[in-house]
Subunit: 504 residues, 4 copies
């Protein structure tokens, strides 16, 4: 921000205990920043939204919010730090969110404000316009948010949050469009980056994906009511049928009377969906591109076994995200699959480690090696990705301490070399292990017997592109692996960030 | 609001337990809506602000907020439901509010949103402008807020609260003034009504009173630092010397380097300070017009004893606000002063009364009659005002049940017949007992042996106007007694409210 | 305790914020340790007990507990740290305490364990005996508790609290009495000291006072139901009629079928009620010895004005406990009564004072001097007692800083020279100002123009003993003034404490 | 209890939200009731105990407690409802539990008092004896607790909890033994049933297993300090080496000076360890009988594949406890292993289901079927056990709804036909599906294509008894499968319960 920022302390009850991603001892995972959900035409929308957000909790665990509308009370809003199950399950809370139309949001904080998120940064955001109110929830990242914010402030807008998403509602407020969908279209046309938006007026549910369709958004149907959600697993939990994905660049406006009305307000572009959703972000029981994410990950494991075979006694996943790829690796290679590392299922929040005597305990709090199983064995460890490398290091140590004869890492994604600007929380480039080392250097750095990443083409094959990556016109956004950014990250370029594309 | 309002549930931990005004069983007291405090030039502004707000807690007990600024962290804000002592006394909280410049606010909700106040309605409000941030806290009421809000929304402002005060910051955002004090001047010139504002930039403390000076604001000095506060009792608690009142229509801008700079940005008007501050709102140890509020109230009691003498055995105050006037009445009349009604000092929050068997217990939870003292006595009860009359009714019953021979009410203010639109929470006109009955009718309604209010002239004499009220050009705002509104309440007139002045 | 004590941390949510006695900046007041209440024959006993305890909150503000019994659920118990209004007012809590018979208790911690009270130390205590359960609540202090505890532990009793009162329930458990009242009699005959006990079985409410009747206990009636309470103000709040005091040494057993049955299980003794209950502990609206405590305190003030007159301009109470005596002093002397010191009614819990800059602020947080009133005046300050003298010191400084011409202290009790062992929390003897200085030395130490305590005979006259104290056989327990302990404090004597009586 | 029970509501903050066992929608899992941990000779015992209890959290999630001892403060105790990570991880809490010697306990409530557990029922229990204090924590169940409790109450003991374990400390209190270990021996000799006890004095850590060694207890070493724990996974988390299991009937007394002293105070008996610990209770990374629990479970799966083969496309575990057996089944049968059911890792507490519209959602909140994977497939589902059968029913429905062609259940334990009286929470006999139906009837009841349980001999083989079960003198306690109770459940027999052994 150009000036002194406001450091708001509105979170109730002091510093919130941030629930951590399971097994992410050192912030050594990429984090999806958001999940969105909306429903229209049911009797108690708040229940549906709470359930849907619960199913999307893996996409954001720091905070959540729900807005509903009913004719008697108008718009009702509740936003809370923490998990859905801890905030949105009481009858009392649900009674305060009446109405048959509602949207919701779960979120991580962005890198900059980690640990200081205030209630005011929690979506959905609400704005009152001359023709009525609207609430909006957003998954993705606006790459020209800094510039937009500066411009809006100069024209007299008062920002209440530090969220990039608030720009959208201010752009809508300043639009001269006659209807809220018109204003949203106008606003989104000024916005660059990746966005899957779920919004509502007092009578309509609205969904929209950016022209490249970087973030997911699906449509479901339950009787006469309609559901929008980031992933199909959120349709399953409420018993809705999966109808289709919202297309890249599509906006749908859903009302009780007219059903789903679709149009395409943006200039045409070839879709480039985030390939990392297949590797890690989405839940294994969600369906992407017509196939279960689990099967895709198993296929990644098979591909990896073909590309980088190794003689060993056991294939073990790094729990939990490495599991499907490890199963695929085992099935392809014939090497037995085993749970060599056990996760403590009661982990979640940060455990303190106050004394010198028990330092470096981070990983042991969450994981324990199956010593009797591992001793003397040649072990293949399958993990989804390597970000900073700190976790891989600790797991290797645990496995060796337990007496493994050999340790071979197989990684279900190509080397992560570039930060994401489209809604994923990544470290700065120089903190990415693969941005500073070759594969061999990483192997030596980690001190393992072998280390292999799947190739970019292999990954494309596993997600169903039999010919691999079309380098002339890639089928997915793979900027984190390739540095090929489909949307120029304007704010970052203003700050001097040089993309691979720009540099070459 | 013109459209569906947002019903925000952001208050942490479910519905807040609203601390009640001491002995206000039925919302039967007028309530000051706010207290403000600011300090510049100390080492830990947050401590000073917390102490000052604690001393002003009687002006607003529902919520409080503090903003500070320090060069390292910029602006820091914390807002909480509940009392200062429960929210702003931990070292942890104070550590989150660093800096040597800070302002704060305590508030009641306005009548409309009672019990639904959200954190977002709690002041100070903060806005980020192109030349930097500013925070603002406001005591009073903007009488054209509805019209201003409608206009601002039409031009694209997004309101985040239901507070009338938020208009000020949006007006500032849209101003083209080069400095924040310039923008504040411009904004306040568009605002009608009563306001005592305390605001801050990153380097200046600003205070301003409306042209009539309806609400109080005083200036204090402590070493090299400066303090602004609603009442002098807040100067006492931090050890600051009382320098002077901020004049009606004056704006002061205080910086570390230039000290206090004063100017008068509004058109000149004869000041009309709220006379009810003398009767009830201000703390008895504060100084108004050069005299302690306690002495003024004692003088009111003396005046009342002269105007409406009665033969009796005891003069008893209705605790706690009737105490100084009862002492004055006793001193003037020679009738012994006694505590015939004892207040339970541990009262505060609403006590439930769940069973039929213990219905109508409201007053007994807070007050108990000194039965042995009252039995067989002729008792004069001195109270500060009669609003709905419900409390007077219950107290009379308690006194008679305890065996009093006679009950005489003496009221330290004239009949309250008109609602206040300048920052005091009053019932609708038809709920005001004195708006619907004569003094004799009220006496019969309450079933007491006599009932007398001080005359308006008597009250003016007691506050130091030896000649009484100057009807041609009244010295005070006494609209609640006279219906003579010094500022036309635009929003209310839009809604069809007819003032006495307008009607005659 | 003879061995390593258990330091239990069962209080929920970390260290409890202890509500302080109003205006007791330095622990400079004597503290009554308990209030008790019981009711039988109503439909919702828990409501009555909660209301009664609320009215007795001044007798103990650290914690409270309630036990009820209903045929379906048996005994129900809830104990909480904090005030009654904060813990026992929700419909939810009341629903968990069903039944028409119940008892309750409010408490201070004893001196030793201050600030470490655990839930397990909160009364009522419950015990299950072979003939059924019983709950017991106790106001007073057992002077041979250490010896009893040691003996009981040697015989195999497991203590769960650090409270002296737990001895009673263990003595009952070991009794071979056939009924619970029989066992209670047997237990209480082994107990030395002061006790007013309220207890219950599944069908009876029991009350008992020690042979000297040191602590108060009264009987009330409400329709067909019966109430026991420490003070009559707790009868008033539930609308019960005051029937009589339970006599010294009396035990009453009250059942729905047989009403109140009374007997006297102890050896006869001349009653010696605590005279300090008249001076300070009891609420001014309670009735002791047929007269309101307020009237007694006013009479103390009159007596003080006769014994120690002084020429002055104003009589001001030290709020709140000095008020009635100040009124009496004013009425007797003709010197006008005025509120020279104003109490902040929102005080309660400890306010932090983190910075050097605002040190020594303790008193100012709670009290403020009415500067405009005090300036240039000769002021008589009336307080109830002087314990450590620290508060008197600070008040004197405030009054002088405000410009008083002279300061005269008048104290409504004789010099407090000896600790109480009968249920009042007093400092060690060498911390009592009056134990180490003469009246003149205290005057010089405090730096005031004059300082006078009421004489012991004067106090006796004010409480209704026209002839003053009968030194041969004193009518009251006045050990804190005289060192004449009516019950030898065995445990203390074991530790080497020498009473005046024993010494002479 | 023979009389009216006390229903204590001491749990802070109203009814505790009970964390549920992962995926136990209907209480359809057997629940281990406790885990114990103790350490001596470290600098901050509380950290070690908290970590150890965290690793044992699967053995009890309702509440936890820690007692430590340090020379300065004596014994320190904290007990809380909820998870270790939520209660025992703050520096503040740890600072209140100083000392180098400590024990801890995690627990489920017993069947009877489910949902009403009070803090007072949470272990470790503490007792003060004439020679000093002792704390005790207990895993197991005392089968003559009702009779012991009745006897102890008749002799004057006051029970503070409803826990059977409290008997031990009262028996110790009444013992005339000179030392605490002597008293514990004497007490435990009077106790029948299953117990693994960890206890402490001010200088010794004590461990003891019942004569049959039904519940586990292991000894670990970390430098010069010693650790006792229910399972080896709790040694791993603190970095301690696994030394050996405490033997059946062994008592160890460990001091800083003398190290581990072992003796065998009970009459000799052939050990009969709980075979269900291998199947379900223990963590897969713990070592039992020299082999990892994971490997044993994999072996159960292999054995099951041999005993009950079936032609199918996929082997899927019911997460999470069926996983190792499913892997074993896959490895033996060659049928591919796949995650057909995905668990929501953010589940934990009960999610409300307020509306009709979303009824029967229980399982969907926690599990989702991998529809795309399952469709058209013949699926083998491997689960650890069938208790009530309600969960199996729901999972079958989910799988069929997802379009599976065939569903085959394979269960990694024999039919559960008898309740456990040795520390496991089982439904009454008539609620156990296998107690009322044959295997074929269960298959039809569940409506699956086939259903097979492992045989009792097969299970014995899988845990390492090559010859299967020695029916003349069984090697394990398998009463839940066989009805062969190694210790007669006295209290239950008093109530008319007829065991198979007794009946035959």
């Amino acid at each position: 921000m150009p000036h002194d920022a406001l450091r708001p302390l509105d979170a109730p009850g002091g510093a919130p205990l941030l629930p951590q991603h399971p097994f992410d001892a050192d912030g050594d995972k990429l984090r999806e920043e958001c999940g969105v959900f909306g429903v229209i035409g049911v009797t108690e929308a708040s229940n549906f939204v709470a359930l849907g957000l619960h199913a999307l909790q893996h996409r954001g665990q720091e905070a959540g919010g729900i807005v509903t509308h009913d004719p008697e009370n108008g718009f009702n809003q509740a936003r809370r730090m923490g998990l859905v199950r801890d905030n949105f399950t009481s009858a009392d809370m649900m009674a305060q969110l009446p109405g048959g139309l509602g949207i919701g949001h779960v979120r991580y904080s962005t890198a900059g404000s980690k640990g200081q998120t205030a209630i005011r940064d929690v979506q959905p955001f609400f704005g009152e316009f001359s023709m009525g109110g609207a609430a909006i929830a957003h998954n993705g990242n606006i790459t020209n948010a800094v510039a937009l914010r500066r411009e809006l402030i100069e024209r007299g807008s008062i920002f209440q949050s530090s969220s990039d998403s608030e720009c959208i509602i201010h752009l809508m407020a300043r639009s001269m469009g006659r209807s809220i969908p018109d204003r949203m279209e106008e606003a989104l046309r000024k916005v660059e980056g990746a966005f899957s938006v779920v919004a509502m007026t007092d009578s309509a549910l609205i969904g929209c994906r950016d022209p490249l369709g970087v973030r997911p958004l699906v449509l479901g149907k339950l009787g006469d009511s309609w559901v929008l959600a980031s992933e199909t697993c959120a349709l399953d939990i409420v018993g809705a049928d999966f109808i289709r994905e919202i297309a890249a660049g599509e906006m749908v406006v859903i009302t009780a009377t007219s059903g789903v009305q679709s149009h395409f307000p943006f200039r045409t572009a070839k879709p480039r969906f985030c390939i990392f959703e297949h590797v890690y972000f989405s839940r294994p029981d969600s369906i992407l591109g017509g196939r279960s994410v689990y099967e895709t990950r198993e296929a990644i494991g098979r591909e990896l076994a073909k590309e980088a075979p190794v003689d060993a006694d056991l294939v073990c996943p790094v729990p939990d995200s490495g599991t499907p790829a490890a199963i695929g690796f085992s099935l392809q290679s014939g090497i037995p699959y085993a749970m060599g590392i056990i996760r403590n299922q009661y982990m979640g929040r940060t455990f303190i480690e106050p004394s010198e005597q028990i330092r470096n305990m981070g990983v042991r709090l969450k994981l324990n090696v199956n010593r009797a199983l591992i001793r003397g064995k040649r072990v293949i460890l399958v993990d989804d990705s390597v970000v900073r490398g700190t976790t891989s290091q600790k797991i290797k140590e645990m496995i060796l301490e337990a007496g493994a004869a050999e340790v071979h890492f197989r990684i279900a994604s190509p080397p992560t070399q570039w930060p994401c600007f489209y809604g994923v929380d990544t470290p700065e480039r120089d903190k990415l292990l693969a941005a500073t080392m070759t594969e061999d250097e990483m192997r030596d750095h980690l001190g393992v017997d072998s280390l292999k990443f799947i190739s970019l083409d292999g990954l494309y094959r596993a997600v169903g592109q039999a010919q691999g990556r079309d380098n002339a016109s890639p089928q997915y956004c793979d900027a984190c692996f390739s540095g090929d950014y489909p949307v120029a990250p304007s704010d970052m370029i203003d700050r001097g960030f040089v993309t691979k594309t720009a540099a070459e």
